[in-house]
Symmetry: C2
Subunit: 166 residues, 2 copies
């Protein structure tokens, strides 16, 4: 448990604020690019990208939701939207009847390919432009460690997981 009376020094505050600001600004710009390049929201792009990267081109709903940090109901909404546009297909999982397997289509891959160059360009200009090679490495290392820590840490509410008291 963290020290309750702890406070932050300017460096810590700076790191925190910069993190939030950078991700917000980046997300905002990326969203615009994706929208005009292929009519995709950021989440939709993330979903397609994940599917495109996976060896099978498919994933379960839950894994997708966890992967992009999204609510399940939100994912259902987006998956329906993508399905209607023909970018993915959905089918019950073979091994588990309740699971839904989402698979990227050829058209989905095309869309991905269409928006990708612009996506990279935005990242390059906005994120990497002011960084030296070493900065990128450090960033990947430190942020990677934070991510691993967050992913492994119990979601807080899961810690006590109080047994049904009644």
């Amino acid at each position: 448990m963290a020290n309750p009376s702890r406070s932050f020094d300017p460096t810590e505050l700076g790191a925190y604020f910069a993190l939030i600001e950078v991700s917000s600004l980046l997300r905002h710009t990326v969203e615009q690019q994706l929208q005009e390049a292929g009519g995709l929201s950021y989440v939709q792009f993330q979903l397609l990208a994940r599917l495109g990267d996976s060896p099978e081109g498919s994933n379960r709903m839950t894994d997708l939701a966890d992967g992009v940090v999204y609510s399940r109901s939100g994912l259902t909404y987006q998956a329906q939207s993508l399905e209607q546009r023909g970018l993915v297909t959905r089918a019950p999982s073979p091994d588990d009847e309740r699971g839904t397997t989402v698979t990227i289509t050829e058209q989905g891959r095309d869309t991905l390919a269409k928006v990708f160059p612009g996506h990279i360009a935005v990242l390059d200009e906005l994120l990497f432009e002011p960084l030296a090679r070493g900065d990128v490495e450090v960033l990947a290392d430190v942020l990677g460690r934070i991510r691993d820590h967050m992913r492994s840490a119990p979601p807080r509410s899961a810690a006590p997981r109080r047994r049904k008291t009644r």
Copy 2:
């Protein structure tokens, strides 16, 4: 202009993905904490925090919106909500009749004080726990540079700013 045929190496991808993931996960957890500690959304907290930090305890709508990277209409919505709860007041700016000046109230400061310790605790556990002192410094430096770069870069669409053609 960035090289259009450029691609990313694993380190760059890692830095990018980790950035997005970390900010998403962090935001999610913080949101929960703020919600149960004081019924605040993350944006609302950011707004109060900004007002609380400003010397006057007040700000123009536009500056607030830009500060937290939010749409103007969205800010109007949130400002109304905060006003109804008595956490801020709104009044036309003295020097410019069209401007609206938002000011934090005593009650707003109280709410801020109420949620702050928990907020810090979350950051401490989730963000800073796995980092050495040097990591924090590097993070603040690198992310800070990125932020400055993003803030100074023209919003892309503002570049041509095509004159009303008709």
